[in-house]
Amino acid sequence: MNSHLLSLIIFLPLAGALLIGTYPRIPAGVVKYAALAFTLSVLALSVILLFRFDRQANGMQFQEIYSWIPALAAYYRLGIDGISLPLVALTSLLSVVAVLMSWKVENRTREFFIWLLVLESSVLGVFCALDLLLFFIFWEVEVVPVYFLISIWGSGDRRHSATKYVLFTLLGSALMLAGIVSLYYSTGSLDMVAIAGSGAAIAQTLLPAVPIFFLLLAGFAVKLPVVPFHSWQPDAYTDAPAAVTVMLAGSLAKMGGYGMIRLCVSIFPEVARRYAPIMLALAVIGIIYGAAIAFRQTNLKRLIAYSSISHMGFVLLGIFALSQTSLVGASLQMVSHGLITALLFCTASIIMDTTGENDIRRLGGLARQMPSTATFFMLAGLGALGLPSTSGFAAEFTTFLGSYSSSEVAGIKVFVLVALLGVLLAAAYVLWTIQRVLFGPVLPVFNDSRDADMRQKTYCGLFVILIFFVGLYPMAVVSIVQNSTAGVIKLLGG
């Protein structure tokens, strides 16, 4: 049981999807309970994982290794360490919330939940896979459910957004595949940990390390997203159904950051160090640029999408600052952003559903009509602007501190000082949004707006608790992460 925990976690949602798919006579009302049951059990398993995880140990845990394609030396190899575990837990939590958020899906309910479960499986697979081929397959599978979820149940120009998402992702992953293949031919292995362990000692070079690094990076940069490869993201976040947006922003974006740490930095520490200034510049540009554009948005979801670009810039900053503290900060930021952005999108979707309005200019005064939603939205906003005691502060401060004090990259201090402005801009657009949406005179148009119901309050409340828990006690995450990031730093030879 213990040794198959990861397989169980990955394939349980898939099994759920198959079950729902193969018994077409299950009534739609039951389908969502089934989906909830499957996601909840995955969540329960990842909680077990959290408790059984040995925080003192180094290296991979819960490993499963079976020969898969002997001719390619490809293995079915799963395992998690401190960097992936929080993301696994986050994904399984967000999946439960995504199911809960989709309670009212009327159109083709069965298919919706099937795709949602497939999505969960593939994302979990990405975080657990330790074999490059397996990793890549999970990475690619994820595109399919997202495409259908956006193009069938989305809003606005949904087909366009879905296609854009697919094209960007596939472009990135095609380059990534090229990188993986070159890596395979250079090392003769598909074992991510072993390749990283052998460090720069790549046996025969099909390609120099630098192009492989950037090929791999391309896939992750699109996913994170790194400015200027982000233009799919606002469209996809805006047009996707709320639950999918939560998954996209909360969980899928983290695949990019995770991949950068696991593949780019771990396998090519030297290259990472050499090109860190470029990546840091992109990170800082992303932070400022995303925030600047957020000011100009009138669509609530689009605004949050751009704020998300800004926040993922901190992840990039932390990763390529290449210090223990900054990597811990980046991991924290991934978890924190997952929680905060998810809550922002949850509350935004509640507001948009009940008022039928997504234009910020026409909203206002909702704090009176929907006080609970307003409170949740504000708390999420406070997290987004990095208020101390929320996870946003813990993550951003750790990232800043680790980056600023990093000795790996020359000139990093300037990057960090510029990035600090991002915090200021975040405060400005968050508060301005709150002012425009929640405050001001009560508008009679929204008098019959319904406040969040019990179901919505439950998951919003859960997010709030977690945001403050991580903010007040960041060690809960840090203690999981720190040994693994220290392992990555060791590869740098620092």
């Binding site: 233009s231 600047a292 554009i293 005691s389 600023y404 508060l431 405050f439 001001g440 720190q482």
Partner: protein, 630 residues
């Protein structure tokens, strides 16, 4: 007299009690709850106990070895191979004094609020937020680590934001709240940057460690100056120093007791407290200290001039607060911790009393507009008495509290920065003038409003009376240098020669003269009207216009920078880039692909034989090439 030293659990309780009150009240908040009296008792009870405990702490610190109590708490963050931040408490005379100031003013203001906020539908939310603020402010004072100081620093900013925007249906209140948060956050970025610099250089953010000479000497002078300036930028934001002062007058949109507590007595003083807290660091960076002095002195005069012309009683008081905070900064920078903190200590009482008085006037008249008041001294005699006492104290007239603290600042400034002394003296004159302008316009002459004025209830008057006691007498604590001894570093200025003796010093005569001149000018203009104020206004019309327009600073920030340079400038450019350049690039690649497809598909004629010809020729060509090259 020996007092039992306070148990450490009770030191924790000082700030945890108001937090507990917040935690108890906040789940009860409903949009329209009706009256919820018990909530206010929870909140007042908590802060009352905190007040008692802080007095006990004050007594205990006097007896503690090194006059310091350091409590280690939990590690907030400890990364293996990285930083460790312990959340602990540092009690020394400075924090003990601040504790008693904050708890006492908070207690009085909360009692007062029970009546003032009586009919507000969001009574519960009010008390929850006041408790949150008190907890955060107390946490800020006692924390032993600059990181937790920063955390609480931001949390007081949050509660200030929520309280300024308390009436969130008013667009002006919400805008003011946002402005307050953002302007102070500009300072906070400096604070944060200073934390990064200090940590990177020293590996710690522990206040005691950072202030130790060993650690300080390890940092090079330039870096230390920048770090100190970063901290001071934070202090400037919180304490409304030029050029980050613009939020404070707007913050008067909040309920008046909030202004009294947060925007007069406590939170705005946090900047002064921070400089005092890190004083050894500032001392090691003399250039930074000079900047502190200059900014303080300039803000003092600068804000006082705007205070002269405001028509809203609370705005006059707000500018007065900025001005007084400037003097505190000047005091710390020139005279050391005790000078500034002593000023802060006295100021907290008389300024909050002034605000509570203004609230009481507002209850009586239904307005804050000076033009709709007048002749109220008979209608609301108690308020009048308290207000005048506080005004005299603010003006720095012997023997009230303000005199003693102001003398400290003036003496220190004269000693170290004679030019800035001139600024301070000018501020003394202006202060006396504008506050008595208010007194005369509100309480003398004929009533110009339409409301039927009535004295406020006892729940409001009692706290005012209680605050009037320290407003009058708190300065006497240093009549013989007692306060200086308690907080100071042992250096004496030879100025203090007793309660009466202080008057003998020529400097005291100068400052008294300046203050009395201010009062007299106001008397001339607003009581006797020997010279009509309108004539003065016309005669000095250009400075008057500048003052009423607040030197164009609001215009500069809101219109020129925020609206035009940023929103319509940089942000729009970024948005344009995103839509046209980056969005255009991806759309361009897409249309290039479809365009190519549109052209190339013409080769797909459906003629299978054409395809076959192409295949055969192609294959032949490939084989031929292979043969030729092989």
């Amino acid at each position: 007299m020996h007092i039992m030293s306070i148990p450490s659990a009770l030191i924790w309780a000082v700030w945890l009690l108001p937090l507990g009150a917040f935690a108890l009240i906040s789940p009860l908040i409903r949009p329209f709850p009706g009256k919820a009296e018990p909530a206010s008792f929870i909140s007042i009870g908590a802060v009352g106990i905190s007040f008692a405990l802080s007095l006990w702490i004050l007594a205990s610190v006097l007896q503690a070895p090194d006059r310091q109590i350091i409590l280690h708490g939990a590690d907030w963050l400890s990364i293996s191979g990285g930083p460790v931040f312990n959340f602990g408490l540092l009690i020394d005379p400075l924090s003990a004094v601040m504790l008693s100031v904050v708890t006492s003013v908070s207690l009085m203001v909360q009692v007062y609020s029970r009546a003032y906020m009586h009919s507000d539908p969001s009574y519960l939310r009010y008390f929850a937020l006041i408790s949150l603020f008190t907890a955060a402010m107390l946490g800020l004072i006692v924390s032993s680590n600059l990181l937790s100081t920063f955390a609480f620093w931001e949390l007081v900013g949050l509660s200030s934001y929520l309280l300024i925007g308390f009436w969130f249906h008013r667009p002006s209140a919400v805008a003011a709240a946002k402005k307050a948060f953002l302007v102070t956050r500009i300072g906070d970025v400096g604070f944060l940057a200073a934390l990064l610099v200090l940590y990177t250089k020293t590996g710690t953010l522990d206040i005691t460690a950072l202030n130790s000479p060993g650690v300080l000497s390890a940092i090079s002078g330039g870096v230390l100056t920048w770090a100190a300036l970063g901290l001071f930028l934070g202090a400037m934001g919180k304490s409304g120093q030029f050029p980050l002062h613009v939020w404070l007058p707007d913050a008067m949109e909040g309920p008046t007791p909030v202004s009294a507590l947060i925007h007069a007595a406590t939170m705005v003083a946090a900047g002064v407290f921070l400089v005092a807290r890190m004083y050894p660091l500032f001392q090691a960076a003399p250039h930074a200290l000079t900047v502190v002095a200059i900014v303080g002195a300039f803000s003092a005069v600068f804000a006082a001039t705007m205070g002269l012309v405001m028509k809203d009683i609370k705005r006059v008081l707000a500018y007065s607060t900025i001005s007084q905070l400037g003097l505190m900064m000047l005091g710390i920078a020139t005279g050391g911790v005790w000078v500034g903190i002593f000023y802060l200590f006295n100021h907290a009482f008389f300024k909050s009393l002034l605000f509570l008085g203004a609230g009481s006037v507002n209850h009586a008249t239904g307005t804050f507009d000076l033009r709709e008041m007048g002749g109220l001294r008979k209608k609301i005699p108690w308020t009048f008495a308290f207000f005048v006492l506080a005004a005299v104290s603010l003006s720095g007239i012997w023997p009230l509290a303000g005199f003693f603290s102001k003398e400290g600042v003036l003496a220190a400034a004269l000693d170290k920065q004679p030019v800035l002394f001139g600024f301070a003296l000018l501020t003394t004159f202006l202060t006396a003038f504008y506050i008595f302008r208010v007194v005369f316009l509100v309480f003398f002459g004929d009533y110009r409003g339409s409301h039927g004025p009535h004295e406020s209830s006892r729940i409001m008057l009692v706290p005012m009376g209680l605050l009037a006691v320290p407003a009058v007498a708190s300065g006497w604590l240093n009549a013989n240098g007692g306060f200086e001894h308690f907080l100071g570093d042992g250096a004496t200025h030879g100025f203090w020669s007793g309660f009466i003796g202080a008057l003998a010093h020529p400097l005291a005569l100068f400052s008294l003269l300046a203050a009395l001149l201010g009062v007299f000018s106001a008397y001339t203009l607003y009581i006797k009207r020997w010279i009509s104020p309108d004539k003065v206004k016309w005669f000095l019309r250009s400075p008057y216009a500048i003052f009423t327009r607040k030197y164009g600073m609001d215009e500069l920030y809101e219109n020129i920078i925020a609206r035009n340079a940023l929103y319509r400038g940089v942000f729009q450019a970024a948005d344009w880039t995103d839509r046209v350049v980056i969005g255009g690039a991806s759309a361009g690649i897409a249309s290039l692909t479809t365009g190519a497809g549109r052209v190339l598909r013409r080769f797909q004629t459906g003629q299978i034989q054409l395809y076959a010809v192409a295949a055969v020729l192609g294959m032949t060509a490939i084989v031929l090439i292979a043969l030729v090259r092989g």
